[in-house]
């Protein structure tokens, strides 16, 4: 049998002359590493706000729900799909929805992938999700997807509301990603996303606007 493409490509690469690996410069400590909690919150808020995201601070469960109520009213939300991670589950949104006249569903409410897909694409006004980390560096959410954190809930609806515990606010990406890809502890997720504000484009005449394919608006509630 002919040599496989894999063997052929790798062999050819290995036959090539070796080249030196250059030394790496020492990088200064990132500024964010020195921030205290208030500094991190300020930085996160400033960065995300610049990308037209909105950041709220909520002290407890009640305040989180108050914000959601406010958002639901302002955005005329009637159908919400939520993730089922610990943070969101702790809010008991179905009960809240009943009080507010908002239907709240989870992916598990749909009998199959097709009906879930239809619902999240076409029949959902907002996705409400937790996030594993919030990164101050650039106002970024880190979301590890899985059974309780479906991929499309934070992507397909036009509004994404994320609730993140303040204890999950970290200075830089490395602080969050080393938890998943550090080789110890948690098994790396199949899919992880870094989300910084709404989806956007500037592909036509360099005119920038939000909401190209994903959410047009992103609201983050920092809890605790």
């Amino acid at each position: 049998m002919k040599e496989s493409a894999r063997e052929e490509i790798l062999a050819r690469l290995r036959q090539a002359p070796k080249m030196e690996i250059p030394a790496r410069p020492v990088m200064p400590t990132p500024r964010e590493a020195l921030f205290d909690r208030d500094g991190l919150i300020a930085r996160f808020t400033e960065e995300l706000t610049r990308e037209s995201g909105v950041v709220y601070r909520a002290a407890d469960r009640e305040e989180i729900l108050d914000y959601l109520t406010e958002i639901a009213r302002a955005e005329s939300l009637t159908r919400i799909m939520m993730s089922t991670d610990d943070m969101i589950r702790s809010l008991d949104l179905p009960a809240w929805g009943e009080r507010q006249g908002v239907s709240v569903s989870t992916a598990a409410d749909y009998p199959d992938r097709e009906s879930y897909t239809r619902a999240v694409f076409d029949e959902t006004d907002a996705g409400v999700t937790g996030a594993d980390f919030a990164v101050a560096e650039t106002g970024t959410l880190v979301i590890a997807h899985g059974g309780n954190q479906p991929r499309l809930v934070s992507l397909a609806p036009v509004l994404h509301v994320a609730v993140v515990g303040i204890d999950r606010l970290v200075p830089i990406y490395e602080d969050a990603l080393s938890v998943f890809y550090g080789g110890a502890g948690r098994i790396p997720p199949a899919h992880l996303t870094l989300v910084t504000g709404p989806s956007m484009t500037a592909d036509i005449r360099a005119t920038a606007f939000k909401g190209m394919h994903g959410p047009r608006r992103v609201i983050v509630i920092l809890a605790g």
Binding site: R12, R118, G146, N148, A190, H191, F209, G211, M212
Partner: protein, 477 residues
């Protein structure tokens, strides 16, 4: 993708007639370049940040075979299927058979430069599988049947009127509009339906992390996330040089890439896949194929100079600052890559025969080298191509130049010959002179005189003046 690198001059002249594109080019690149400088300033030490990204890319390319094997092992352990393709035909056939086996008739695609190289869209269409580019700019370029104008904004030069016509015809738009936002939303609506129905999603890869087997995509629109969330099968196509050693390296490159690419400190979305979806997930791909497409890389890897081209991270910073690109835009480069990036990559991947203009249409100003976060010395590579071409005696300008430089070389090594030849040449050139200047001259230098004069070569050269008088005036002042 059609290769049109051989018509550089014709296409450049054509593009320079395009007033709309020219206005655009005079505004956008300087704007992005300024944004880049500003956002690079958010690094505590921008120079060190650039030096580090250059070192990472140099290391990644130097260790490429080992890193690829490590990546493959870890990706397979995570449940991905890793396929290797020698060339475009093999890669396309792999994707076609994946599509056929799943009875797929339509695919959605995230931006992938390697699939532009392999002409995947045409290959799919020929087999009756309809491909939809889903990045807005790529979608427009695809529907217009044009190569990318700019790596970041593939259709950013297309007038809104043209986009409107296109969307009325091909994107189901109901009402005419020239508002870029409305046009964008029309495309959103059209492509959303494709995302919902797509059985197979195809993406490129920005980085493949060796020590985790993860692939990383960087985007703003969310189309790549859709391609990784909605279809049941995901095919991610990468060239071998996308591999980087670690997640930490990837994160630094990510910071540098976004800053250089769009002047953002981070793109709206970064998605990292390690294998197909987990069993508990309701969405995401049930199967993930990663196709590593060599397409000539392992061959050019043997040339230490050309190997440097593989460091490129496709950020486009070099395009935004290139003074030649600023005049002609992306089309004349005739293939997947344009600007200095294309002048380096297209000859490396296509060969020198039909790409001669790409490595000659350059003033060697070095702006690309200065800005490149991957540490590519573009001008040095152009000189290397020029030397290779001369070596192969395929200099397109013909034999006169080889003869000229032959004589020149002898003269440059013997000052008496050098002076003698000048004495011979000067009167010939002076024939064209009037009042101390030459306004036109036939022959190879004729181009100079379209908008410029030249001084008549001096009757008394500096050396003559030195001998006759200057040397004797020493100490006079």
């Amino acid at each position: 993708m059609k290769i049109d690198t051989g018509n550089f001059v014709r296409n450049a002249k054509l593009e320079m007639q395009n007033q709309y594109a020219r206005t655009f080019l005079s505004l956008l690149p300087p704007y992005i370049a300024a944004r880049r400088v500003k956002v690079m300033g958010s690094f505590p030490d921008p120079a060190a940040a650039q030096e580090l990204s250059r070192a990472i890319r140099a290391e990644a390319v130097a260790r490429m075979p080992d890193l690829l094997e490590e990546f493959e092992k870890n990706a397979i352990a995570a449940g991905a299927r890793v396929l290797w393709a020698r060339n475009a035909a093999e890669a396309n056939e792999m994707i076609l058979s994946i599509a056929r086996e799943r009875n797929v008739t339509m695919v959605t695609k995230g931006k992938s430069m390697i699939s532009e190289e392999t002409g995947l869209n045409d290959a799919l269409a020929r087999e009756g599988i309809e491909p939809f580019e889903t990045d807005l700019g790529e979608f427009i370029a695809q529907q217009l049947g044009r190569p990318p104008f700019h790596i970041v904004g593939p259709a950013i030069n297309v007038p809104v009127e043209e986009v409107c016509d296109l969307f009325m015809k091909k994107a189901g738009m109901q009402e005419e509009t020239t508002d870029p936002v409305e046009l964008g939303y029309a495309a959103r609506l059209f492509l959303r339906d494709k995302f919902r129905r797509a059985r197979l999603g195809i993406t490129g890869v920005n980085m493949a992390v060796a020590d985790t087997g993860a692939i990383i995509n960087v985007e703003n629109e969310g189309n790549i996330r859709f391609n990784k969330s909605s279809p049941r099968t995901q095919v991610s196509v990468m060239s071998p040089e996308k591999v980087v050693p670690t997640t930490t390296d990837a994160l630094h490159l990510l910071r540098v890439l976004c800053r250089n690419c769009t002047g953002q400190s981070i793109s709206a979305y970064v998605s990292i896949d390690r294998g197909p979806r987990e069993p508990a997930e309701i969405d995401g791909p049930e199967e993930l194929f990663i196709i590593i497409v060599d397409n000539g890389r392992s061959r050019l890897y043997h040339d230490p100079k050309l190997r440097e081209a593989l460091r490129c991270i496709r950020c486009g910073a070099c395009l935004n600052l290139c003074p030649v690109y600023a005049k002609i835009g992306g089309y004349p480069y005739g293939w997947a890559y344009s600007g200095p990036m294309g002048q380096v990559l297209n000859p490396a991947l296509l060969g020198l025969e039909e790409t001669g203009d790409l490595f000659k249409a350059c003033t060697l100003c070095g702006t690309c080298r200065e800005v490149c976060p991957a540490g590519i010395d573009h001008p040095a590579i152009f000189l290397h191509y020029r030397a290779l071409e001369v070596k192969r005696k395929r200099r397109s300008s013909g034999r006169w130049e080889a003869i000229l430089f032959g004589v020149w070389g002898t003269a440059a090594a013997h000052s008496a010959v050098w002076r003698f030849l000048y004495r011979l040449a000067r009167p010939v050139l002076a024939v064209f002179g009037k009042k101390g200047k030459i306004e036109a001259m036939p022959g190879p230098f004729a181009g100079w005189f379209g908008a410029r004069d030249l001084p008549v070569p001096a009757r008394r050269t500096f050396r003559d003046q030195w001998r006759e008088s200057l040397s004797k005036q020493g100490g006079a002042s």
